[in-house]
């Protein structure tokens, strides 16, 4: 088995950047061997490096992409797919889409691994109807620290399932999963975009379109006063015209030297205003390919370089429905006044929470936005943390690189269960990430 190599790595946000020893097993038996012999308690599985912060960073990293990259079974009639955890959603789409199937849940990038999707229990634009990724899993195989290879689902080994989905790799190494796919009759999406003038209108478009399969809003986080919360809310439905066509797979590349200074309050404000006003009508209908609808940023390779070498924080939180309006008004105002924030800001109404102990979504509105890292950012984020807590909100581990233990744990009523479960099964002696050590998971 190849030796560990020492590498500096960071998550997708390019912050923090830490030193690791990286093990790259090439087969499943290599992976078993590694787990059996590994003595370092600060070990975590690594997929495609798309979580933003330090979820997949640790002293010792197991890169699972080579060892776990097989499709195991695809039932074309039933739409059930079993594959190993190192396969990316992009690879899955290439296989299933031509057969008229789609992922039941997909986040905003297709370049994450199946293992990562489960570990973060990702959600997508259909959360209000379909829930999280884990809710479409019928079997999940995990390699535990004692070397056993355990299968679980919602009915069997339920605790392991509840801890693993959303558990950020802290229970063991996810080996494979069986998922139930969604049938599609076209790769085109009928998209309706509502241009709203303020937060109230944005909310009412969401509330009036709860039956829409997919919904998401780009929000102008620089807009103030009467325009606070103005958005472009996109609703989507798969078309039924029978065309099953893969995307172009052409991508622009963000150059490595892109100067972070290009993004400043002034340039983003201009950009946001132009982007908002590009759509003239209050409602626009068009048909777009699913890649454009679900994965607009995947069209730009390394878009994370846009924020320069210092990196960025993607700040994502969710507020319960009854505090959402007031809370978002306060938070958006704070952000607009600060002049920080960026072009990429996404507001989304979620459906009910699932029962996994650390899954992020709950019924209410989530806001995700990027902040280029600079000294003045940290006090702003700490202030925002307090606002989120005041409105009973919580934070998303897959995006997080910085929240404190005290702030994080207030949002998750089952966190003690998770901690206890890890202790009882000695998982905390074997699997820890920089994030889990910071938050005390």
């Amino acid at each position: 088995m190849p030796e560990a190599t020492d590498k500096q790595l960071s998550g997708w946000g390019r912050y923090p950047r830490l030193q690791h020893s990286v093990f790259t097993p090439v087969t499943t038996s290599n992976l078993h061997g590694f787990v059996a012999n590994n003595k370092n308690p600060n070990t975590i599985a690594f997929g495609n490096g798309r979580s933003y912060g330090d979820s997949a960073l640790s002293e010792c990293i197991v890169d699972c992409r080579l060892a776990q990259n097989y499709f195991i079974d695809f039932d074309i009639r039933q739409g059930t797919l079993t594959c190993q955890s190192g396969i990316t959603l992009d690879e899955i789409l290439k296989v299933i889409v031509p057969k008229g199937w789609f992922l039941p849940v997909t986040p905003g990038t297709r370049f994450i691994t199946l293992g990562g999707a489960i570990a973060a229990d990702v959600h997508g634009k259909n959360h209000h109807l379909a829930g999280c990724f884990s809710q479409h899993i019928s079997a999940l195989r995990i390699l535990l620290a004692d070397g056993s290879d355990v299968t679980c689902d919602e009915q069997h080994n339920t605790d392991l399932f509840r801890a693993t989905c959303g558990g950020m790799g802290l229970t063991g190494i996810i080996l494979s999963a069986t998922i139930q796919l969604t049938p599609i009759a076209s790769t085109q999406i009928k998209q309706t975009t509502h241009k709203t003038r303020n937060l109230e209108e944005t909310f009412s478009v969401y509330e009036e379109n709860l039956n829409s399969s997919y919904s998401v809003a780009w929000i102008d986080c620089f807009a103030k006063d009467k325009s606070l919360g103005r958005s472009l809310v996109s609703l989507g439905e798969f078309a039924d015209d029978g065309t099953l066509r893969q995307g172009q797979n052409k991508a622009l590349t963000m150059p490595a030297w892109f100067p972070g200074i290009m993004l400043n309050a002034w340039s983003i404000k201009c950009f946001n205003t132009l982007y908002y006003h590009r759509q003239r009508r209050s409602i626009k209908e068009e048909t777009v390919h699913y890649e454009q609808f679900f994965y607009p940023l995947d069209g730009i390779k390394h878009w994370n370089r846009m924020y320069g070498r210092g990196g960025f924080i993607q700040y994502q939180f969710i507020l319960p429905k009854d505090t959402s309006f007031e809370g978002l008004q306060t938070i958006l105002k704070t952000i607009a006044d600060s002049g920080q924030g960026s072009f990429l800001a996404v507001l989304k109404l979620h459906g009910k929470a699932n029962q996994n102990w650390l899954s992020f979504p709950m019924e209410g509105y989530s806001l995700a936005l990027d902040f280029k890292i600079k000294d003045s950012l940290w006090p702003l984020l700490e202030y925002l943390d307090q606002l989120v807590l005041k409105y009973q909100g919580r934070f998303y581990l897959a995006k997080d690189a910085r929240v404190s233990r005290e702030v994080f744990e207030q949002g998750y009523p089952n966190i003690e269960k998770f901690r206890q479960y890890r202790q009882e099964h000695n998982m905390n002696q074997h699997f820890n990430s920089a994030q889990s050590l910071r938050i005390g998971l």
């Binding site: 190849p2 090439v26 097989y70 499709f71 195991i72 079974d73 695809f74 690879e91 290439k94 296989v95």
Partner: protein, 243 residues
């Protein structure tokens, strides 16, 4: 649908080649020792690319079995790639005949034995392609690996002759000379990054070269220049060098 036989399928280059040809719609016949270990790999290829994959036990060292091996294949494939190779331990092989013989058998004799049979069948059919993975190490003998190099040189010469012979029979022969490749075979070596190719890159180069009926392929391409220079060094100078 076209079909391809890959001999020595367990190497990283061979696996990358299997993926490359599968992605281009070739049905695959994968052959090697303890071939059942590739069950999962084969299943993965069939799901990803909707092709047929069959597995066949094959031992390059067991020359006498080769005729029977070819005979029991479900079909005569359109093309064959042999990725059978063994780097061996040069120092040990200088003293230990069995290691030396293993290097010769794996890299040269095993390949010749099985390709002789397939070449005759392809010639009779008047179609097909043969791809042999040789090495830049065969271009000039160096003290560090001349036994492996000698076997590869023999193999390159064999392929060159085969190409010459089969030209009139419309069978194309491609000699591949990879430089450094980042594989399990070289996992312990400290390779210069700029000169080292990933197996996927090598596979893509081979596929393209085969489709264009190229004769000799260096991959990465820069190795054609490096070897040209190395061959130009006069022997009286070369013998004193340690490269």
């Amino acid at each position: 649908m076209s079909s391809l036989l890959i001999l020595g399928t367990k190497s990283d280059i061979a696996k990358a080649l299997a993926r490359q040809y599968a992605a281009n719609g070739y049905d695959l016949l994968l052959a090697g020792r303890a071939i059942n270990e590739l069950d999962d790999f084969a299943k993965d290829l069939t799901i990803r690319h909707e092709i047929k994959v069959s597995l066949h036990e094959f031992d390059a060292n067991d020359f006498d079995s080769h005729a029977a091996f070819v005979k029991q294949l479900p079909q005569l494939p359109d093309g064959v790639i042999t990725a059978i190779g063994y780097l061996g331990e040069q120092k040990q092989a200088e003293k230990d005949w069995s290691e030396c013989q293993k290097i010769m058998n794996q890299n040269l004799l095993g390949n010749i034995s099985v390709l002789n049979i397939l070449a005759n069948l392809f010639a009779k059919r008047q179609s097909g392609f043969i791809i042999g993975i040789s090495s830049v190490a065969g271009d000039r003998g160096r003290q560090k690996n001349y036994l492996y190099g000698a076997a590869k040189a023999g193999f390159s010469t064999y392929l060159s002759g085969l190409r010459n012979r089969l030209f009139k029979d419309k069978v194309h022969v491609l000699t591949v000379k990879p430089g450094f490749v980042n594989t399990q075979m070289t996992a312990d070596m400290d390779l210069p990054e700029k000169l080292t190719a990933e197996p996927e890159h090598v596979a893509k180069d081979i596929y393209k070269a085969q489709q264009k009926n190229k004769n000799i392929l260096y991959t990465k391409g820069i190795w054609a220049w490096i070897m040209r220079i190395i061959r130009l060094i006069p022997e009286w100078q070369f013998k004193k060098m340690d490269i």
